[in-house]
């Protein structure tokens, strides 16, 4: 895929095609797969996303640990109070996807399982009010895929590599770019949406309680979804950011690489290592993890690459 947002935009301009078309052509060339077959596979991923949301908002089934399950339904039952129907529904759908994920349901990692709620939460909710067709949603996914691929190459999309900024941050940038494109934003506005999203998520740590993709992940997906829409709104209004997206992505990479290993998915720091986090880990049957948390940083160094993604 492309190595920079700049290269992607230039490539599209040179070929006289849209951003999603440029991604499609590049993927088809790299993989020798027919563009229609690629679009069909993206459409199937969208179907899985829809089904996960439908299951997640209607079921109160708990995950095996009991940490998540039923919150999306509760939010819809008791809300909205402040944010309106649409954004409240978006929060619920992002949470719903992570709740389905936590109980071994079928989801699409976008770009990871831990950040799987952001893109579907944003796209499926706005599609209803904006009237986007299935084909347009495929275009939106292609734009999101292009963004994620650049981040994967220049920085990281894994919590173990760069904290939560790399997971929900990347997912939010993907969603913001997709929405900006689908709303008729120019490639320049798409690029601003990416920068505006990521500048607000720099430094976010990955500290999953008990080392599991549940808490705070479900809520982080919800807040990242709303953050993505805010960035797209600003970009579409013509607001700009002084640092280009490729440079913001590079900063995200630097921050990730220098981030203490306790905050990179190891569950040895942050919320995971709080007294309550330790109690939850113990109750979930992970005494070894709690022991490592208590021993602190020296052991943490050795476990730098521990943890889920």
């Amino acid at each position: 895929m492309f190595r920079s947002i700049e290269e992607w935009i230039e490539d599209a301009a040179d070929a006289g095609v849209t951003l999603p078309e440029a991604v499609l052509r590049r993927e088809a060339r790299n993989t020798d797969v027919d563009p229609d077959a690629i679009r069909a596979r993206v459409a199937r991923a969208l179907d899985v996303m829809r089904e996960a949301i439908a299951e997640g908002v209607s079921s109160a089934e708990r995950s095996p640990t009991g940490m998540t399950g039923g919150r999306a339904r509760t939010l819809l039952a008791n809300g909205p109070r402040l944010m309106g129907e649409e954004l409240t529904s978006m929060l619920a759908r992002a949470i719903a996807t992570l709740e389905v994920n936590a109980r071994m349901g079928l989801i699409v990692a976008a770009p990871t399982a831990g950040a799987a709620g952001v893109v579907p939460g944003v796209l499926m909710t706005l599609a209803e009010s904006r009237g986007w067709s299935s084909e347009q949603l495929v275009d939106g996914m292609l734009v999101g895929g292009g963004v994620g691929a650049v981040i994967a190459v220049r920085a990281s999309i894994a919590g173990a590599g760069g904290g939560c900024q790399a997971e929900t941050g990347s997912a939010a940038a993907m969603a913001a770019a997709a929405v900006t494109h689908l709303e008729g934003g120019s490639p320049e506005q798409v690029s601003q949406a990416i920068a505006l999203t990521l500048q607000g998520m720099l430094g976010l740590i990955c500290d999953p309680v008990a080392g599991l993709v549940e808490m705070p992940c479900a809520y982080r997906n919800a807040s990242a979804a709303v953050h993505a829409v805010a960035a797209a709104e600003m970009a579409l209004a013509g607001l700009d950011f002084p640092i280009p997206p490729d440079e913001v992505i590079d900063v995200m990479g630097q921050v990730g690489r220098t981030m203490d290993v306790r905050f990179r998915e190891t569950a040895l720091g942050g919320l995971a290592a709080t007294p309550t986090g330790q109690r939850i880990a113990e109750a979930a049957g992970m005494p070894e993890l709690v022991e490592l948390q208590r021993r602190g940083r020296t052991q943490g160094e050795r476990s730098a690459r521990l943890g889920p993604s």
């Binding site: 895929m1 991604v23 993927e27 790299n30 993989t31 690629i38 993206v42 199937r44 991923a45 899985v48 995950s63 095996p64 640990t65 389905v100 994920n101 936590a102 109980r103 071994m104 349901g105 079928l106 989801i107 699409v108 990692a109 976008a110 770009p111 990871t112 399982a113 831990g114 799987a116 996914m141 292609l142 999101g144 895929g145 994620g148 691929a149 994967a152 999309i157 894994a158 173990a160 590599g161 993907m174 008990a210 080392g211 599991l212 993709v213 549940e214 569950a267 979930a284 049957g285 992970m286 070894e288 993890l289 490592l292 050795r302 476990s303 690459r305 521990l306 943890g307 889920p308 993604s309």
Partner: protein, 221 residues
């Protein structure tokens, strides 16, 4: 290289691409290396697989892979029950594979008929895996390309014959790796190719006097 579906996927049973989807793929590849469904399996988990595997369904995922389920197969949830129904006996243990080993590593012993196969591999993130050892041989392949594994006498000319057969079938060799236990002893060759591996290649390789065991891994998808 990062592909579009590395970002928009995998489509998978949750909750973790490394601890669930990758674990399932390890099991799936191990099954293929063993030549089919084993009757008995011992799976030793290392590092984070051992520590947080329980909550991530890592055991269910590996067993599911051994039963031939892919990462998006909803039957992963009931794989332990399915194992009992299909006569796969399994046991889990823990192993310290050393500081050098990736934290998400597993060593899988499989018994199928008279054959025992030992596979060590790891889940490197995003559902991708790396196979690192087969029996006593170090190997390195990902299963993302179709792969031929040939255990052969370590005699001159085998590599040329294998690459010749691949060329006859119109297969482009992406990577080839040869390891041997000792000079003049056995060698293990792993060949990753672009494109589907025809059944003829497998049978023609199997007829070679120097070939002891030929296994073909289809693409993981």
């Amino acid at each position: 290289m990062v592909g579009l579906f590395d970002i928009l996927g995998p489509t998978m049973v949750g909750p973790s691409s490394s601890h669930t989807a990758g674990a399932c793929r390890l099991g799936f590849v191990a099954r293929a290396i063993a030549g089919g469904q084993p009757e008995r399996a011992l799976i030793e988990l290392h590092g984070s697989f051992a520590m947080t595997g329980e909550g991530h369904g890592t055991k269910r995922a590996i067993i599911g892979g051994l039963l031939g389920f892919r990462p998006d197969d909803p039957r992963l949830r009931e794989s332990l029950e399915q194992a009992a129904e299909t006569g796969l006996e399994y046991e889990f243990g823990q192993a310290d594979l050393g500081d050098e080993a990736h934290p998400n590593s597993a060593r899988i012993h499989l018994w199928r008929g008279e054959t025992h196969t030992r596979i060590q591999g790891c889940s490197v993130g995003g559902g991708r895996i790396r196979v690192e050892e087969i029996d006593d041989f170090p190997v390195e392949f990902t299963g993302s390309l179709p792969t031929v594994i040939v255990q052969a006498d370590d005699v001159p000319g085998t590599i040329a014959e294998i690459s010749g057969l691949c060329a006859e079938q119109g297969l482009n060799v992406a990577t080839m790796r040869v390891d041997r236990t000792s000079r003049g002893g056995y060698a293990l060759m792993t060949i990753e190719v672009d494109g589907r591996i025809p059944a003829e290649l497998e049978s023609e390789l199997g007829e070679k006097p120097w070939a002891h065991r030929v296994r073909v891994l289809r693409q993981l998808g």
